[in-house]
């Protein structure tokens, strides 16, 4: 059996998306900046894709630009707000401790340039509140950036409420909606979102393409200078095939949000229930305010990388926040922000489902995880100390 349960890392492209791309590689391959009809056909497609995506977000076509993905959109949004703030002498930014590195590292770079950053702690359920944001905003705050949904623990933030707080305080509000777009209903007007990032490969679109929405009146700061593409705010010949694939994937995903969510929440909840029946385990993040496909659990006494390798042997593709898999010395900053001690955070497992996963697969995963956890615990000196009572369990 082969089960892909790492959809938060990336997704398989949908048939619809692939087919939407094909004509733009072989037939309509012109450069949208060219005057001839080949070029104009591409320009028309580009404009159509922009309209469709804008409509889904509740904004106008002029308010979105295409980027190389979520990371670029996050960077451009943050640097734009910083430049705008700097002009008014406002050099304070509010964000959270569990943002994606595309946001955190952009903020670190700004700190080196004299900006001050407040990273809000998340609560035990993996959520920040509008009040937390409100209390952190200062007269010199130029930006609040809070992710729509977390990529590791899947918790969904109260974006509408945070947007309202920012609007009242007159502070720009950006949200990294990479994990939410195509999975949750988003309305930039209702939710008072000034800037938003999304990335096609998280909703069955192609990799290397994304969107930055910036509300009318925000003058974007270029990261890439050159030609006049994207109203001069992002140079480079447009990746038309990818943009068409993204537009098709986004339409498809948005049309199916309700149906997918109903199906996924059921699978997710069964998976959580099954995994938590393994002793000394805990769910990371709120059980309800989470992405429909996200499951993230810690198991005491084992380490995540060996868990992933053995699951891979059983045909299950998953992910973990252990140090060994994060490529750094520390386990995931998200699990640490959630208050998990290092030794527990090392034993984390993220399974992220999509609508193609089935109830049978979920049962298979539960059994596979149960087997692997017990195998690894059987050879773990940490587990022996816990079981023999020499050390106390952290997860009861």
């Amino acid at each position: 059996m082969k089960i892909y349960a790492d959809n938060a890392a990336t997704t398989k492209m949908s048939r619809t998306a692939i087919e939407a791309m094909l004509p733009y590689m072989s037939e309509i391959y012109g450069n949208p900046s060219s005057l001839h009809s080949e070029g104009q056909a591409a320009a028309e497609a580009l404009s159509d894709a922009r309209e469709r995506i804008a409509k889904r977000l509740g904004c106008t076509a002029r308010e979105i630009i295409f980027t190389s993905g979520g990371s670029e959109a996050d960077n451009q949004a943050i640097i734009t707000a910083a430049k705008m703030g700097e002009k008014k002498g406002k050099k304070h930014i509010v964000s959270t401790a569990f943002e994606h590195h595309a946001v955190l590292h952009a903020l670190e770079a700004l700190e080196k340039q004299g900006f001050e950053v407040t990273l809000l702690d998340i609560h035990d359920n993996g959520i920040v509140t509008a009040d937390d944001v409100k209390n952190a905003i200062r007269p010199d705050t130029c930006l609040v950036t809070v992710m729509y949904a977390n990529n590791e623990i899947g918790t969904v933030q109260p974006i509408g409420e945070i947007g309202a707080v920012c609007r009242e305080a007159g502070v720009l509000f950006h949200t990294d909606a990479v994990q939410a777009a195509g999975h949750l209903e988003i309305d930039v007007i209702k939710e008072n979102i000034d800037m938003l990032s999304l990335s096609a490969h998280k909703f069955h679109g192609p990799k290397g393409i994304g969107v930055l929405y910036a509300k009318k009146g925000i003058i974007l700061q270029n990261l890439i200078y050159g030609g006049a593409q994207e109203r001069g705010k992002r140079a480079g010949t447009e990746n038309i095939p990818a943009i068409m694939g993204m537009a098709a994937a986004f339409d498809e995903a948005c049309d199916k949000i309700e149906a997918n969510s109903a199906k996924l929440c059921k699978l997710r909840d069964r998976l959580i229930e099954g995994l938590l029946s393994i002793p000394h385990s805990i769910l990371n993040g709120d059980a309800e305010k989470r992405l429909p496909g996200n499951v993230n659990v810690c198991f005491e006494g084992i380490e995540g990388e060996s868990l992933l390798l053995l699951l891979d042997d059983k045909g299950v593709a998953a992910s973990s926040g252990s140090a060994c898999t994060s490529g750094s010395l520390d386990p995931s900053h998200v699990l640490l922000a959630l208050g998990r001690p290092h030794e527990v955070a090392h034993g984390s497992l993220r399974l992220s489902l999509c609508e193609e996963n089935t109830a049978e697969e979920v049962e298979y995963i539960i059994e596979a995880v149960r087997d692997v956890v017990s195998l690894l615990r059987g050879m773990s000196p940490v587990w022996r100390d816990l079981e023999s009572g020499k050390k106390e369990f952290i997860l009861k």
Partner: protein
């Protein structure tokens, strides 16, 4: 996953000498759970020869494979040879480790040494302290 060599995967999937020796003559435990790896090695020693060895490891694939390989390399060998086991030898026997995983082989070397030291201490055997430098492994860990 091509992260590891076939050898590493073999020792990870089918680790040799997993377990505990009751009333072991020497026990060594190195690493810490905060850093994500702990190795524990148990030795049964007769006439200065390691007649049996078992290990328990909490850690990533290469940590488990390194401890498995190290136990194979010292089983049936005189103590003097076990003390000569280097992390380099463990790494080579595994057909290499990714650069960021070399510390796993260092842990394995130190777990063996620590178990021998425990045996010496328990039996009042005099040894040269320079044989055992204290937990250099934790340099990679900053907690």
């Amino acid at each position: 996953m091509a992260l590891y060599s076939e050898k590493v995967m073999d020792h990870f999937r089918n680790p040799r000498n997993v377990g505990v020796i009751e009333n072991a003559d020497g026990v060594g435990e190195v690493g810490n759970a905060k850093c994500g790896d702990i190795m524990k090695i148990y030795l049964k020693i007769e006439n200065d020869v390691i007649v049996d060895v078992k290990f328990e490891t909490f850690g990533c694939g290469s940590a488990i494979a390194s401890s498995s390989m190290a136990t194979e390399m010292i089983k049936g060998k005189p103590i003097s040879e076990a003390l000569g086991l280097t992390n380099k030898a463990v790494t080579e026997a595994l057909d290499g480790l990714p650069a960021q995983k070399i510390h796993c082989s260092v842990l394995a070397e130190e777990a063996v040494k620590s178990a021998v030291k425990d045996y010496y201490d328990k039996n009042g055997i005099i040894y040269d302290c320079k044989l055992f430098h204290d937990c250099a492994t934790c340099e990679h860990c900053h907690h």
